[in-house]
Each structure stands twice: as structure tokens, then as C-alpha cells.
Symmetry: C2
Subunit: 109 residues, 2 copies
Amino acid sequence: MFIAMNRFKVVKGAEADFEELWLKRDTHLKETPGFVEFHLLRGPEREDHVLYCSHSVWRTYQDFEAWTKSEQFRKSHSGAKSSKPLYLGPPDFEGFHALQTVSSAVAGG
Amino acid sequence: MFIAMNRFKVVKGAEADFEELWLKRDTHLKETPGFVEFHLLRGPEREDHVLYCSHSVWRTYQDFEAWTKSEQFRKSHSGAKSSKPLYLGPPDFEGFHALQTVSSAVAGG
């Protein structure tokens, strides 16, 4: 399993604009081979920003890599731009490989 | 859905010790109410460390919070210590609330 995360430092006051931009976009992910799940995450609030993460889970690193080279990827990253500055700096990409997985013994958590 | 992550900067050369310490511990998570899934993740390699994350998914923030106050939590954090220094600085905790979830249209990704 591979998890791809992009960390966004969203400036104070722009949280609603950032969320609207993300929540209305069409990601084309659902039918992508090897795609498991995507979350838009709201993280901790710091002094000058709120941390958000796009968090996508893939069956393997190779599935993720194939998607980044696809036409769908290009389309989903060429979407609507905001009319005001939303970020402190560029997003910070981090890719993670799962070494161990423990699942709930109870269905549905 | 709530995701709790702890980010560990593991010094170069200590990766195997860190992984062994984590992979052999008993987390008691499986039967915890509201627990969904845990992953130990290996992330990007930087100049002086490798980033690892403990990544646990909870049904709600309240489920996570209840676990942090439990005897099981205390037990799972009082485990084996390493005989050599593994980290650059303390772990960095980040909690995330899911704003949006997109799941694969194909069972099993």
C-alpha cells in the first residue's frame, strides 16, 4: 500500500475558499486502476496558517506513478484557480510506503 | 473520520532498529472502540533523516480521544526502549479531520 500526501499551508481567512475549490473539483479518481481512497483532510491550526492535506491511498506505488503520468491526472490538476492568494509557499509532497497494517477486529471500526 | 499521525525523524543508520521496535510492539488497538486501521509508514529520505509516520484512522475524533485516556494507550506507550538514539528531536503529532472522502468504484481498489 502507498499513501500520497500533499501538505498545504492555507493562510488564515482563506480556509473557506480553499475548501470550496477542492470540494467542487472533479478528480476522476474513482475509476483509476489501483486507486483505493482519497480524503481531503483539515489538520492543525498554526500561528499563520491552517495545515490541510490531500491524502490518497493506492494499492501500490506503481499504481500511483501510472496515474501521475495519465491524462486524467493532467486534467484534475488544471482546474479552477482561486482569485486570491490561498497558500504560504508551494505544497509539500510526501509519499509513504506501508510497512505494517493493523485493522479493526470489528467490522466498520 | 479522524486521522492521527505522529511524524518521526529517524537518524540515518537507525532505520532497522526503529522498524524492529515498532513492528514487534503490541498495540492493543484491534479491539478498541472506534478504531478503524493503523499503518506504520516509511516516508521520504532527507539529508540527515528518514521520515516515518504512525498513521491511525478513527471513526470520530471522540473515539481517538477516549483511547488516549485509556489504560491500553498507557500500556502501548510504555513499551521497549531502544538502546541507541533513534530520533532527531521529539515526534511531531498532527491530527486531521476528513472533509471529503472519495472511494474506489472497484471493490478492492
